[in-house]
């Protein structure tokens, strides 16, 4: 069955009459976000099922709910009174059976005064025409059941979810956490319910013969009372056995669920752990960075302060100090000379002439020290207390005291600024000795210290950038983010603990079951011992045969099911290999792992059967798409599925270029006809050229779609229509 064309009139953004014609192979509709791809998908789905997919709700909703939203805004805007309609018509061509089906759905709404009437029509109308290709006219199908039969012929209900789907539905189509997902898929391949029925019949007939056998045992007892008692005990033990088995099954179910959850999380744990590790590094670097910035600020402030506090401002000022020193000594010498002249004159008149040292040389403090130590600090000779030498030194102190007396100064000068000049001189000497020699070194040390801090800060900033880039790389490749990373790790730890607990519980139930089996065997022996005479052979034989029948029915069902799983796995791997062919990354192989509760879970294994971890969202979607294709291709032994068209919207939105092309090649192999809506080829010219020219891709029709709106009309859809351009 091939879709020949779809004609769309005033349906959503497709205002006016629009037509897409298709042929065998991959038909691609290219357009950017919001250019009308999903609305085209909706158009297909609406015709067959009277529903459209609402992204906000992530579900299909009926015409009754969306109502006049189905009709193009442009048409509604341009109408004042009367009726407006949206209609979509699809032409299916069944060449093998020489039949053409035309399905046309129409929805009409009333407009009054330019506004859509509330409580408008809730129903759409579907017209189905069935005609033989050789004839021009066909017959209009009135009967609703007949219409549904034709729809089911076009797209069988059990295959619908694997043939027509939205990209965002892929995860839920093959939800391996859903117990029935794989069974549903297996049922597409083969009718498993047939085998289930046989198993049920086998169980029932065995139970009947078993009851008959037990009854016989009781009736032939030597001690009927004891037999009844033992039989009751046996029934109680059997009931206990059954109950415990139920508990065991429930526990196994819990283990499987925990395992599934763990497996599901496990693919994210590596990423989450990496994100968590990078986050910890960032946190550590940020703490260190804050500390270093504080240190640098402090060092910078100190650097500026040091200009004043450590006197760095005086760097290179030594010469000024020397000049002052000379000026001060010159002044002091001149002053002393004047004082001495005056002194000598006075001593000459008084007859006591002495050689004088300059004023305050040596300073009184040193003179006192000489007296205390009884030694001249100038010549080093001893000057015992009260000796002539000691007295001569003491006289110097007294003379100095007299000389320092302002009287002498006052007699010669109007002002005495010597103390102040001397203070400046002492200040200069103190700075010269204690500060100046270290200024260069201190500045150098400070600059090195600040430079080192800055280097460390840049290093830490780079570490933060680097770790953030690594995190974004992981986020880009997986569906987790920083926030969910910690959550995943916590949830994984909880699930792992739960699994351990369930395993302990399972062991407990298994021990109890073993006890019950032992008990039942003992009771059977005791009951057998009470039997007088023999149980008829036919009954023993019958019981044995029906027991074997039950075993065979059960094992056959399991074998068929496992065989189908294996077939599905093989097919999925064919498609997985094909889709990943152009990509250089390690691919591995899909394995459908059986869980304790009988469910299956996909995992990627390497060539030695080891599970490969850390595959990303792209891989997961790929595995699911491979499985979806496997369901279709594995069931094509009867050449049935190839009759149907794959229609999918944005299936490879999480793929890179290589996976996208790989998907197209695999689709070419599996589906006779496919219609794919995609934005991947919109701006990527190289990818578009590869799509249209690769010999492994059986390309059909390719269209580019875009909205008609010009810039000033983008605020509403009142003039919106869609431009369709055929690229081949």
């Amino acid at each position: 069955m091939i879709i020949e064309k779809i004609e769309i009139e005033n349906f959503m953004c497709y205002s006016g009459y629009n037509i897409f014609e298709f042929c065998e192979g991959i038909n691609v509709i290219i357009g950017d976000n919001a250019y009308g791809k999903s609305k085209l998908y909706d158009a297909f789905y609406w015709v067959l099922y009277d529903q459209i997919f609402v992204s906000e709700r992530k579900e299909f909703v009926n015409t009754a709910i969306v109502g006049s939203e189905l009709i193009s805004d442009k048409v509604k805007y341009e109408s004042v009174d009367g009726e407006v309609s949206a209609s979509v018509s699809i032409t299916f061509n069944n060449k093998e059976q020489d039949r053409v089906y035309v399905l046309r759905r129409t929805y009409t709404a009333k407009i009054e005064g330019g506004e859509v009437v509330k409580n408008n029509n809730k129903n759409s109308v579907l017209i189905v025409i069935d005609k033989e290709m050789s004839f021009l006219s066909g017959s209009l199908i009135d009967d609703e059941n007949q219409k549904q039969l034709i729809i089911n012929k076009i797209l069988p209900r059990n295959l619908k979810r694997y043939l027509w789907f939205q990209g965002e539905q892929v995860e839920s189509i093959i939800d391996f956490n859903d117990q029935g997902a794989l069974t549903s898929a297996i049922n597409v391949l083969s009718n498993m319910s047939y085998y289930e029925t046989i198993v049920n019949i086998a169980k029932r007939t065995f139970d009947e013969v078993n009851n008959e056998y037990n009854k016989k045992l009781r009736n032939q007892s030597r001690d009927i009372e004891q037999s009844v008692k033992l039989d009751n005990q046996k029934k109680t033990a059997e009931q206990g056995h059954r109950n415990t088995k139920v508990y065991l099954d429930q526990t196994k179910e819990n283990i499987a669920r925990a395992e599934e959850k763990c497996e599901l999380l496990f693919s994210k744990v590596a990423d989450a752990e990496a994100i968590s590790k990078f986050n910890q590094k960032i946190k550590k670097a940020q703490d260190e960075l804050a500390e270093l910035k504080k240190l640098l600020d402090n060092e910078n402030s100190n650097f500026i302060r040091a200009l004043f506090q450590k006197k760095w401002l005086l760097k290179g000022m030594n010469s000024i100090g020397k000049e002052y020193e000379e000026k001060f000594f010159r002044y002091d010498k001149n002053k002393l000379e004047k004082i001495n002249k005056k002194q000598i004159l006075s001593e000459l008149t008084s007859g006591t002439i002495e050689t004088r040292l300059p004023i305050n040389v040596p300073e009184p403090i040193y003179v006192k020290e000489m007296l205390d130590k009884e030694r001249c600090l100038v010549c080093g000779r001893e000057a015992k207390k009260d000796s002539d030498a000691w007295k001569a030194i003491e006289e110097l102190l007294i003379t100095k005291k007299n000389t320092a007396d302002s009287n002498v100064n006052d007699q010669i000068f109007k002002n005495n600024f010597r103390e102040e000049f001397y203070m400046l001189y002492r200040n200069h000497i103190s700075i010269e000795d204690n500060k100046m020699p270290f200024i260069e070194e201190e500045i150098k040390d400070s600059i090195i210290c600040r430079r080192n801090l800055k280097i460390k800060i840049i290093d830490l900033q780079n570490i933060i950038i680097e770790q953030n880039e690594k995190i974004h790389e992981i986020i880009g490749d997986s569906s987790i983010d920083c926030k969910s990373a910690e959550h995943i790790l916590n949830e994984y730890a909880v699930m792992r603990d739960k699994k351990e607990l369930y395993i302990l519980e399972k062991n407990k139930w298994e021990r109890q079951i073993a006890d019950y089996i032992l008990k039942i065997e003992q009771l059977n022996t005791e009951l057998g011992d009470l039997v007088k005479g023999e149980i008829p052979n036919y009954l023993i034989e019958k019981k044995k045969i029906l027991s074997d029948f039950l075993d065979i029915a059960t094992s056959t069902r399991d074998r068929v099911f496992n065989g189908l799983v294996s077939r599905l796995e093989n097919e999925a791997n064919v498609h997985y290999t094909s889709m990943t062919k152009g990509n250089q990354a390690t691919r591995g192989k899909i394995r459908l792992k059986k869980l304790p509760n009988g469910n299956y879970m996909p995992e990627i294994i390497d060539d030695e059967g080891r599970v490969m971890l850390g595959y990303n969202t792209g891989n997961l979607i790929l595995i699911k798409l491979a499985t979806i294709m496997a369901i279709v291709s594995a069931s094509s032994t009867d050449n049935k599925v190839k009759y149907y068209t794959l229609i999918t919207d944005a299936p490879f939105s999480v793929f890179g270029d290589d996976y996208t092309i790989g998907f197209c090649k695999a689709v070419s192999m599996v589906y006779r006809q496919s219609i794919i809506m995609s934005k991947e080829f919109y701006k990527n010219e190289a990818l578009k050229i590869q799509l249209m020219n690769d010999s492994d891709i059986n390309i059909g029709r390719v269209y580019m779609i875009r909205p008609s709106s010009i810039e000033c009309e983008r605020d509403n859809r009142n003039n919106l229509s869609t431009i369709i351009e055929s690229l081949n």
């Binding site: 910078n300 500026i304 004043f308 401002l313 600024f417 203070m423």
Partner: protein, 165 residues
Amino acid sequence: MELIKRLKERSPEYSAVYENLISIFTMTQGGRAGSSSDSSAWAQGKYFTTKYEIFMYAAFLGIKSKYRLPLTNNEKNISFWEIKNWQPVELVNYLIMSILTVSDIDFNQLEELSEDEVEKKITDLKKILEEYANGGFDIIRAKYEDNSTYFENNDNCFLDLLSNL
């Protein structure tokens, strides 16, 4: 009679022309001298926390580069804190020592002057200090006008300015 003590009683002046330049590099909140902490000065991109700091810096810069620029009467001059309030005292004394050194004042002669004459000499010393500071401000201005990024991208700018003379 005291010379230095009386000089320290004086409030030097600077040309209003440099008011903007001073405010670029100096914290001036809280009155004439500013009272900001060192770290907040750094955080605000300022190098000096008080006006007397930049004045002292300018004076040393002028002395070191032997650039003495008289204040003209055409411009308004702004006076600020008396020298006795400036810190650190050792540096203030070193500055006064430098002024005394570069001036042509004869110390011995000074001691023979009358009180009025000494007072005049103190005024002269204050003027010398102002002129060297004015020279220093002019060097900063010229550098800033020539290349303002010199002060923006270099934490050591004021130290380098002193060293590169």
